[in-house]
């Protein structure tokens, strides 16, 4: 049995859309950040699927770098979240509102 590549691409688009949706509707900072990770995961699936299509490894390499960047972002992001929590004692993004939007 074989599966067309576009199935993988649709799954990837779905994950990406879920991530964007989470970014828009979630209110907890950590969950919002997790939604961003979900977006990146969706993108990674696209890269791997396309890499399989072309039979090249560039997509794999890109995913590898995305992971490294995600790890770096996670470290910095969580540190920022901790420092926000220290000054504001809340994790709700709407209560982090000293600056008017």
């Amino acid at each position: 049995m074989t599966i067309p590549i576009s199935w993988y691409l649709l799954l990837s688009a779905f994950l990406f859309a879920c991530g964007v949706m989470g970014f828009l509707i979630k209110r907890n900072i950590i969950t919002i950040f997790m939604s961003i990770e979900l977006m990146l995961n969706g993108v990674n699936l696209s890269f791997i699927a396309f890499a399989t299509r072309f039979g090249t490894l560039d997509g794999h390499i890109f995913v590898f770098f995305v992971m490294v960047v995600a790890a770096a972002e996670a470290a910095v992001g969580l540190a920022i979240i901790i420092s926000v929590y220290r000054t504001r004692e809340t994790l709700n993004v709407d209560r982090v509102n000293l600056l008017k939007l």
Binding site: L11, G19, L24, R27, T31, I48, A75
Partner: protein
């Protein structure tokens, strides 16, 4: 077999993603994200990307998400409050997202590549292949990640450490 595995893990993935949105407690969202990442690793295996699949488990599930859970535990993040939220996000964002998603899906379906089909066991992304490419064609990018990680480490330390006594 292949199609069954794809459907199984694909549904797990999609279910995890939806569960992330529905759950109110951050820890549950984190767990569903781990489910998504785990099933993605298995989907990568279906696509033949062996090395990436393993690295996905080690880095995403084994390091990044542990960090998330660690912070959730540390800050004792409880149930999400219900607040109004940004109106701009809801008025512009969600319709924009939906239209974007529809456009994206239609483009992927119409013009997306469909010709190539994948056979199970067609492994080609082995660690040595990826490593070879990483240290030849993408050498500079690889070296550059060290600067990136250095910045991240330094930043995490600077932001999260307690103030100096002075």
């Amino acid at each position: 077999m292949h199609i069954f595995l794809f459907l199984l893990f694909g549904l797990l993935c999609a279910g995890g993603a939806i569960n992330l949105l529905i759950q109110r407690k951050p820890i549950n969202s984190a767990l569903s994200l781990i489910v998504v990442m785990g099933s993605l690793a298995l989907i990568y295996l279906l696509l033949g990307a062996e090395f990436v699949a393993v690295v996905q488990v080690i880095i995403y599930a084994g390091a990044i998400m542990v960090l998330f859970i660690f912070v959730i535990m540390l800050l004792n993040a409880g149930e999400e409050e219900h607040t109004k939220g940004s109106k701009v996000a809801k008025i512009i964002g969600i319709p924009g997202l939906i239209t974007g998603f529809i456009i994206g899906v239609s483009v992927l379906l119409q013009h997306g590549p469909q010709e190539k089909r994948i056979h199970i066991g067609e492994l080609y992304g082995s660690a040595s292949d990826v490593g070879m490419m990483l240290f030849t064609k993408y050498l500079l990018a690889f070296e550059l990640t060290s600067v990136l990680v250095l910045i991240a480490i330094m930043g995490a330390v600077v932001l999260a450490r307690r103030s100096h006594s002075s």
